[in-house]
């Protein structure tokens, strides 16, 4: 089963554009990434630029409205994620606990929806989606 480990760094909601992680923190995290890789459970991982470089789209009244970041009301934002494939929720939590995260960082562990989790009518409406999930941009 797939789990997403969402890294929520406190304070990242107000980080200025162009904020980069420190080299020491990257090096620490690299050992952890390597352990995930060696265990054969790492599917993908990425870091996100601060929300001050992002945007939000709301859909009130059926019309998309764009607001540029930073988002004043945000109490917590995503800083990065790992997608892992493990045998149980307990194993996912065990891996998240091993992360060399810093003070006041939070990792949220969430199970990914698989097609077989859905009832038949939903699977039918989403036919072809699994192929799309693997992407087309050819990286």
């Amino acid at each position: 089963m797939r789990f997403m480990m969402l890294m929520i760094p406190r304070g990242y909601e107000t980080a200025t554009p162009g904020t980069m992680p420190e080299a020491a923190a990257v090096a620490r995290m690299m050992k952890y990434n390597q352990a995930l890789q060696d265990a054969g459970i790492l599917l993908s991982c990425d870091g996100l630029h601060p929300p001050s470089m992002g945007a939000r789209v709301t859909f009130q009244g059926g019309k998309p409205r764009v607001s540029d970041g930073p988002f004043a009301e945000a109490k917590e934002v995503l800083g990065g994620y790992w997608m892992i494939n493990v045998k149980s929720r307990a194993e996912a939590i065990e891996w998240a606990s091993r992360c060399p995260a810093g003070d006041n960082e939070i990792i949220e562990v969430r199970q990914v929806q698989e097609m077989e989790d859905f009832p038949a009518d939903v699977q039918e409406a989403a036919a072809g989606f699994e192929t799309m999930q693997r992407g087309s941009a050819g990286r």
Partner: protein
């Protein structure tokens, strides 16, 4: 450049309410268009936070595990789509075209965030290793 479109949670997604068939079909069509344009990298939905957990790392190096659900559905994520585009404007254009994930007549919100690329970092041994890991982790 890659962007992640984060679909925000709401009361329905947190309660595990399935989207209507119409919305699922519209979302599938939207992802079909992304795929046709060669812009789609990855997309998934997340189960409600009630089935998840949080690990909080304290200043003293302790880790506490807190079981979901987590309050403030607006701060939570229900799913994501990763796209590869030429500019932030193009990413915003695609984001605007996404069907309202909450359903018609409901308040929906998505967040668009650029992903770090290895080229954004100063060259170092750690970054070289990350490059190798990414090459191995990503499906070919």
């Amino acid at each position: 450049m890659r962007f992640m479109i984060l679909v925000k949670a709401n009361r329905d997604t947190e309660a595990g309410v399935m989207s209507e068939e119409k919305r699922i079909a519209e979302m599938t069509a939207y992802h079909e268009e992304l795929a046709k344009a060669g812009a789609l990298l990855d997309a998934s939905g997340l189960q409600p936070s009630s089935r998840g957990a949080r690990i909080v790392f304290s200043a003293r190096g302790q880790r506490s595990v807190i079981d979901g659900p987590f309050a403030e559905a607006k701060e939570l994520i229900a799913g994501y789509t990763i796209i590869e585009v030429k500019s932030r404007d193009e990413a915003i254009e695609w984001a605007k075209r996404m069907p309202n994930p909450a359903g018609d007549g409901k308040e929906g919100e998505i967040e668009l965030r650029q992903l770090f690329e290895l080229e954004d970092f100063e060259p170092s041994e750690a970054i070289d290793r990350l490059r190798q890991i990414e090459a191995g982790a990503r499906p070919a």
